[in-house]
Symmetry: C2
Subunit: 306 residues, 2 copies
């Protein structure tokens, strides 16, 4: 294997790399699909990996879908995948609240119906999904009725985010026993054509600023995302490859957990950014250097089919 980092993955290196792992974790958007279109060749990559006896998992920070919704989307786009191979932050946050925070009651949720469903599936009762427009004056806002059974505030992506939701979260979080969890800190959701809309990181930052507390973050690069997979499937980190399009989430997760890392250039980050991190002396930036990079995940197909 090449000792240097940030190396272009040739066919020969692909063979070496794939021989050295028995599990591949994929980020989704920008890696195996973009929006509603599969990256050409990506479905064949997944099938070939499985035919070659590799375990495959899908690890995404996007909190707007349940595992089953992801399985349905994968199926629709031609991927061979099952719901138990999907680790999204809606699901992983539910697992985190249940197993790490030991929540057995209610959660005030800034998030989607998908998050509500994943929480309910582990026996947690979420409050707060849907629009919550403002009414009354400041005094009323400070006195909003609080549910005493709420043990945590969970912040994920919520298109109905509003001042009142921010205020409710603050009122719950004024109780120091109320736990505070965020799905992820991505600041933008990238769309086709260089466009983007605000991501969960913006909403979480607003709540953190109001509460004067920092949330525990479940999503990449928090190692919990990998622990969530390995707790169920017993993986050896050194025999895992993390494939992603973002240096600050996917590649950092791999570095944090001791996985091999591959940056694919069909998404957010560029090889120039990776090279700049490589040249920097900052330990944090060094964690955002992939072992390898590749133009598209489809480029490993020849190594798999040989």
């Amino acid at each position: 294997m090449a000792a240097s980092k940030c190396t272009r993955l040739t066919v020969a290196l692909s063979r070496h790399l794939l021989d050295s792992v028995d599990c591949v974790l994929f980020d989704c958007d920008g890696v195996i699909w973009r929006g509603d279109q599969a990256i050409p060749g990506a479905p064949e990559v997944i099938s070939s990996l499985k035919k070659n006896g590799k375990r495959v998992f899908f690890v995404t920070n996007n909190s707007t879908k349940t595992r089953q919704m992801y399985a349905d989307k994968l199926d629709k786009l031609g991927f061979e995948a099952t719901a138990d191979e999907v680790f999204g932050t809606a699901y992983c946050s539910a697992v985190y609240l249940k197993n790490v925070c030991k929540i057995d009651g209610k959660v005030y949720l800034i998030g989607s119906n998908a998050m509500r469903q994943e929480l309910e599936d582990v026996g947690i009762r979420p409050l707060g999904v849907g629009p919550d427009p403002v009414s009354g004056v400041q005094k009323d806002w400070a006195d909003v009725p609080l549910d005493k059974e709420v043990q945590a505030v969970l912040v994920g992506f919520d298109e109905h985010f509003s001042y009142m939701k921010l205020n409710r979260a603050l009122q719950y979080l004024c109780n120091p026993d109320c736990q505070f969890v965020g799905t992820n800190t991505d600041t933008r959701l990238p769309l086709e054509g260089g466009k983007a809309v605000p991501g969960t990181g913006c909403l979480l930052r607003a709540v953190e600023t109001a509460a004067q507390r920092q949330a525990q973050v479940v999503g990449k690069p928090s190692s919990f995302m990998f622990e969530c997979v390995t707790n169920q499937f017993g993986l050896d980190p050194e025999k895992c490859l993390m494939v992603g399009d973002r240096l600050d989430t996917d590649i950092m997760l791999g570095s944090n957990c001791g996985l091999k890392t591959l940056l694919t250039l069909t998404g957010v980050s560029t090889v120039e950014e990776a090279d700049a991190n490589l040249k920097s002396k900052c330990p944090l930036q060094q964690k955002m250097v992939p072992d390898y990079y590749i133009d598209s995940i489809a480029d490993i197909l020849p190594a798999l089919q040989a």
Copy 2:
């Protein structure tokens, strides 16, 4: 005068201090009133200062009222005051956009009707006030119609803050020529009984996170708030006293502008916090040490009436 900082203001020291200044700037909430109640004795302090030939100004980060609305409130609570003595961030932001940013067109405003009115009064056309609930899907959000005449985004307090407002601000701010201004960074609005609701700082932080840009901030401790007064009234900073209840806004403004500073203990900050700043070696914390402190602004009355 006492050379040491953070000294309790005795009657004798009050006389010295008042003799040394010809202008007193007051923060409002927590200083001359709390909520809808005047601090007992505060109206008499203002009248006596004026009788003694001092100029008086009211300098507040709260962006929810126009100068006239403040003048009406002051009058109702028994203060002798006129609208041109009031410098709130709704008014000062309008002046800033007009005179510093040189805006002559439209502004996308996350804020109140009071802010809209102050902007209109200087000839700027604001868009965006009122509810803006979400509709459509991600693609629609990225493609929201933008008004090409918008030259700046202004973020102030907005109880109708929503994901769509955050998104609109992001879409405008993707244009690097679009200027970005915030009224203030206060993270909470304190209410009676130790309660609080989220302040403008939370909304501004959300927009900054989405836009990956930092706003120019008008409110205290930015020296613009003092410049805005002195540009109109030609004050000598050394002959001005800033009276406030917050170390991080009022006292810091005074330090930034070379004013004398007095912390009053009827609001947010405590003398213990001021002492801790005094003992710290951090230059930023040193700026949050007042020259003097006093239990209530009413305690300077004897010095004025003698």
